[in-house]
Amino acid sequence: MDPYEVEFIGENRIISVIPNFSYDKIYLICGEFGPFRAGLPINVPLWLAMMLKQKQKCRIVPPDWMELDTLENIKEEEKRSRFFTKMPNEHYMVEAKLILGAASEDVPNAAEIKTIIKDIWDIRMSKLRTSMDALMKSGGGYGRLDHLTMMEINSAKPLLPSAMDYLLQIQKKAQQRVQQPSALNTSTFSQSGSSQNT
């Protein structure tokens, strides 16, 4: 999948905005939103919030996790843990990128938050890489993807599954040929076949 497709999926997350206009309810495929009252916070999908923001029709209320202390904790936790920790949000990267890109003035300490989210992302990506390598080296047949967000899973996508697939193909082909009963020397073949499984 293209990152923009993941972004598109992530744009369906609901966030809170404060509109500066009043309007009736609107009816969207993903549900009804409104009525809009100027100055009163209201929940809308992320894409709608972005659109309104770009037209300067609203102010964005940053999500609870988008503040320095929380993110600092998450970052520490992520550094300490060997495994992936739970992110505040399945699409944290998409949300952060869109909100900080279009509405950085609505978020206090936007620059620091941007840096710290990028740090968390980098830590997680390098962790993902090391664990992919460890998975292949240890010869594991499956990997657990607990707490990985969609964007992160997507980044591992053609490589890890295709490598696992390739490995399986080699295993199948090479073993099948070894175990093939042959008129010539069946005894040596069956012996080698058993060593495959160890």
């Binding site: 292949m136 997507n154 053609p158 490589l159 490598a163 390739y166 295993q171 082909k173 012996q191």
Partner: protein, 194 residues
């Protein structure tokens, strides 16, 4: 590795790799197979490197005309190098189709160690695929990879590129998603329009 089809070009290339064979019988008029031979006939006991497709068919006859030996990269000495550190080996120079060819070779290996070597080698070399996908010096990183590894590394590098583009750019022009573009109905509609 969908290359086992009869007409698959990559499979043809794989089976065209040379394998050392020992001829077990005198073959009249086949001297041309051995480039160093001066006579017209091929003597029993000659060691010649012939393509795998030829070796397979000669070997499978009853009685077999050739005894198949392992190519040197699958033999003990190289196997030790591969088991120690597979990442130091330049597969592109040594054996471009290491894995695919190895799958064919495995049945001629009486000890059955080749298939394990293949798997271990791929496991170890996965790190190179990872680093090739993020490396800025893509030519240098991709150079020592075998053909199939190169394909995988290139696909991974594409994702990596798309991801970093997404991270850097604010907005992008909307394009048709691959899935939609490949949709049959849409293609048909386009064809009908022309």
């Amino acid at each position: 590795m969908e290359n086992s089809g009869y007409l698959s070009i990559s499979d043809i290339l794989v089976t065209n790799e040379k394998i050392p064979c020992k001829f077990l019988h005198d073959l009249p008029k086949m001297g041309f197979l051995d480039p160093s031979a001066s006579e017209d006939d091929l003597k029993a006991g000659t060691n010649v490197e012939i393509p795998l497709w030829l070796a397979e068919s000669l070997h499978s006859r009853r009685p077999p005309l050739v005894a198949v030996d392992l190519p040197k990269i699958y033999k003990d000495s190289y196997r030790e190098i591969l088991n120690a550190d597979a990442c130091t080996v330049d597969m592109h120079k040594l054996s471009q189709y290491f894995y695919e060819f190895g799958c064919y070779i495995a049945k001629h290996d009486i000890k059955g160690e080749v298939s394990n070597t293949l798997i271990n080698t791929f496991r170890q070399r996965f790190r190179m695929l990872l680093s090739a996908s993020v490396s800025t010096d893509s030519v240098g990183a991709i150079q020592p990879l075998s053909v199939s590894e190169r394909l995988q590394a290139a696909a991974a590098a594409n994702t990596e590129k798309a991801l970093s583009e997404w991270l850097q750019r604010g907005d992008s022009i909307l394009t048709t998603a691959n899935m939609v573009a490949n949709h049959r109905k849409r293609k048909r509609a386009e064809m009908e329009m022309h």
